[in-house]
Symmetry: C2
Subunit: 282 residues, 2 copies
């Protein structure tokens, strides 16, 4: 059976994963996507691993019911906690997380082997980036720091100005201090949370021009394309045309369609109206 | 049947309500308390009213099963959304929210009738403070502003310093501008979220000395005492002694005992160990 005409599922705890969806749309312009934000239970970043695994399995079940051809776990916390459980439950389904592509890109970018990772509390505590980078480069030194306030800033839309700048300063200056011995100074920074690309400009101001910033949304989109190609699941260009006027994007959320639409618009970079958002129960 | 020896239930979406529990302990030193933080589903402040009502009813059911004599809804969002539903479901149980006591105190404090309320998105959007103040003083002018970032600052423990100051400045300066006509300048500020008392010092810096800050934790504790006294449910002093070595506080949470303990310690003002926190499902 040829599943290439099916949609790609993208799952996140809320709206942050829309930065990953935007990168996927750019990388795979002929595909259809169904995005599920578990807004009723966000944020995952402060929840226990057991809860996150349970939520991710419930979300995947709802998406698999809609006959998707692949699942992108756009949420760093869920990628870190739930990828093995998802792959075990759905052995036939290509499942792509954001941690492995981010680790690949970080290891490729770093010369010194000293890599900083910023994410939510749960992502940092779970250590998935630390392990993934260590597997790829055993002598790497990884400094992972939880930056919870960046999440709130991104959702509030305060991505520039005094508050964003002083927050970035407080979290990041210790990691990139010019006083640190050069062997200890990170030359690569992984944005290990889907919310953080919206703050990239103030983050860049603090870390300086010489640091490579890895946006795992972009690297994940490339990994998704590679995996779909390997499994012969890329949608032929002609099929995209044949789909006619069907929208390439559909949105599911577990709570608050209006908030999803208003904040999501900022993360996706294109307008979402509340009517487009279907509420579902998990 | 005399229920006065029973414990008082305190319910919140997470750890913020521990500021209310601290005020209750100070006001009612002979009572026992069981505190439930719905940490698996926090924050309520960005959820829809329907979800918040459903969560509050589930939490109340778990607490009523433990044979409590009263329920304090420490969460502003849940007080605003769910109080009527709770009182309807449990008509015999005294249910105390934080909104009504806060509105009482604000109306008592304000000379100009111009009152500012800060809270979560859901509290502000729901308009419960605006209605409660309007009922008590129909000519009051209420200016309500959602300050989501204060929640994240309180949980991160960044309650002083540059980030807290610039955040307070950005949210509050427009409400208390010295350029505003004096009749329009708020003379009273209601802290309509349990997290906000931890930020009181920086809030005071921005609003100035002449503004009365209403901490609804304290006013709620007084309202709870009054209601228990009216229903003859205050625990006699002797009973407190007779309970012997039983701890006057027990803690329930729906997720993350370790995080509850570490952040909760800051909100309660006394150490909570993770062993003290019992995990329950709702």
């Amino acid at each position: 059976v040829d599943h290439s005409a099916r949609a790609i599922a993208v799952f996140d705890s809320g709206v942050g994963g829309l930065t990953v969806l935007a990168a996927l749309c750019a990388e795979l312009p002929h595909e259809q996507f169904v995005y599920l934000g578990d807004t009723a239970r966000l944020p995952y970043g402060t929840k226990s691993d057991e809860s996150v695994v349970r939520y991710a399995l419930q979300a995947a079940a709802a998406l698999v019911e809609r006959e998707v051809k692949a699942l992108v776990v756009a949420c760093n916390t869920a990628s870190a906690a739930a990828l093995p459980a998802l792959r075990q439950r759905y052995p036939q389904l290509p499942v792509i997380g954001v941690v492995e592509p981010g680790a690949d890109a970080a290891v490729a970018a770093s010369r010194s082997g000293c890599i900083a990772v910023i994410g939510t509390e749960a992502t940092v505590r779970g250590g998935a980036y630390q392990r993934a980078i260590g597997q790829r480069r055993p002598d790497a030194r990884v400094n992972a720091v939880a930056c919870q306030l960046f999440v709130a800033l991104a959702e509030e839309g305060w991505t520039s100005g005094a508050v964003a700048r002083s927050t970035a300063q407080r979290y990041l200056a210790p990691l990139f201090s010019p006083d640190a011995p050069s062997a200890m100074a990170a030359d690569t920074l992984v944005l290990g949370c889907t919310h953080f690309p919206t703050l990239q400009a103030v983050i860049r101001e603090v870390v300086g021009e010489h640091v490579t910033i890895v946006d795992s949304a972009i690297t994940t989109a490339r990994a998704a394309r590679a995996l779909l190609a390997a499994r012969e699941l890329l949608r032929p260009k002609e099929a995209a045309g044949a789909a006619g006027h069907a929208s390439p994007l559909s949105f599911l959320a577990t709570d608050g369609a209006a908030r999803f639409a208003s904040i999501g618009t900022r993360f996706l970079g294109r307008r979402i109206s509340a009517d487009e958002v279907e509420l579902i129960d998990l």
